[in-house]
Point group: C2
Chain length 141, copies 2
DNA sequence: AGCCAAATGCAACTAAGCTGCAAGTAGTTT
DNA sequence: AAACTACTTGCAGCTTAGTTGCATTTGGCT
């Protein structure tokens, strides 16, 4: 996607969920759309450099996006959250994430789908399922 | 299990992995064996009350147990780790964990097994898989 | 242009866990 | 049994990721 396309998509998404199109929201959302993998608040701030909003604003912006369902919390790694655009997920599950035990990197396996598990437990109502895989990535294998 | 049985099992486990049988290790491991659900360092300390070791010792003890493969990190919730005895897991996966979106509690679904996924990606070698389910628990449904 | 609820920035705070180092102790050696 | 020593523990203080309170600014509306 070109910069221009990202900008259009950013504004369209913000409009769709009725959020004010402010500077911080545009740049944070654009950063997530540009990234191939889920990003942490810290990574987003670094990538934005001098045009990054205050870190508190980044945290609050991401939280707002999650509540509006434009962005998902993809996974928690080393006590920090990684976020990704919500369009990469279905209602009942996000694609699996793969973490390499050697280099520590995590990748999205968007092509992979795992059937929603049937719980053998009475009374538990399953709404969503999250799968994480661990092993060696192509670079480390 | 009776208190006496827990004590025997605790010492047997420490012996098996060649760790010194110290006071803190005995009480922390016993607390994990007694619990029905994974426990955080904080929860263990609270349960042990005045006989709890220093909190740094609890953290280091849990880390030691994980390295020795006596205990596993079951899941990360709200930025804190929950631990459980390793015997509840197989080589390639832990049982799924279920988190209730209403009350926030997490339960082990030890009766449930999910086949190890086959990755359609060339070059990724999958060693372990982790499944988390979200929904409503019997109390909240 | 003017209004105002919503958004932002700043400073200070919190929770969970980690580090460095001095003191204690389990298991071994003599 | 006493001594030894490498592994453990406790304490104080630090770090990281994220949160809260509050004063200031601004997007979208009139």
């Amino acid at each position: 996607m070109t910069t221009r396309e990202i900008e259009k998509r950013t504004d369209a998404l913000l409009n769709a969920v009725k959020l004010k199109r402010t500077g911080p929201r545009r740049v944070v959302l654009a950063a997530l759309l540009r990234a191939a993998e889920p990003q942490s608040a810290e990574q987003i701030a670094v990538k934005l450099g001098t045009s990054a909003p205050n870190k508190v604003t980044v945290y609050r912006t991401l939280e707002t996006f999650v509540n509006a369902d434009v962005v998902h919390k993809a996974f928690l790694q080393k006590r920090t959250w990684y976020y990704e655009p919500a369009d990469k997920c279905t209602d009942t599950q996000c694609h699996p994430h793969f973490t390499c035990t050697h280099c520590g990197d995590t990748h999205c396996l968007t092509e992979m789908s795992i059937p929603l598990a049937e719980s053998p437990y009475k009374g538990f109502v399953v709404h969503r399922q999250q799968v994480r895989l661990e092993g060696l990535c192509p670079d480390c294998a």
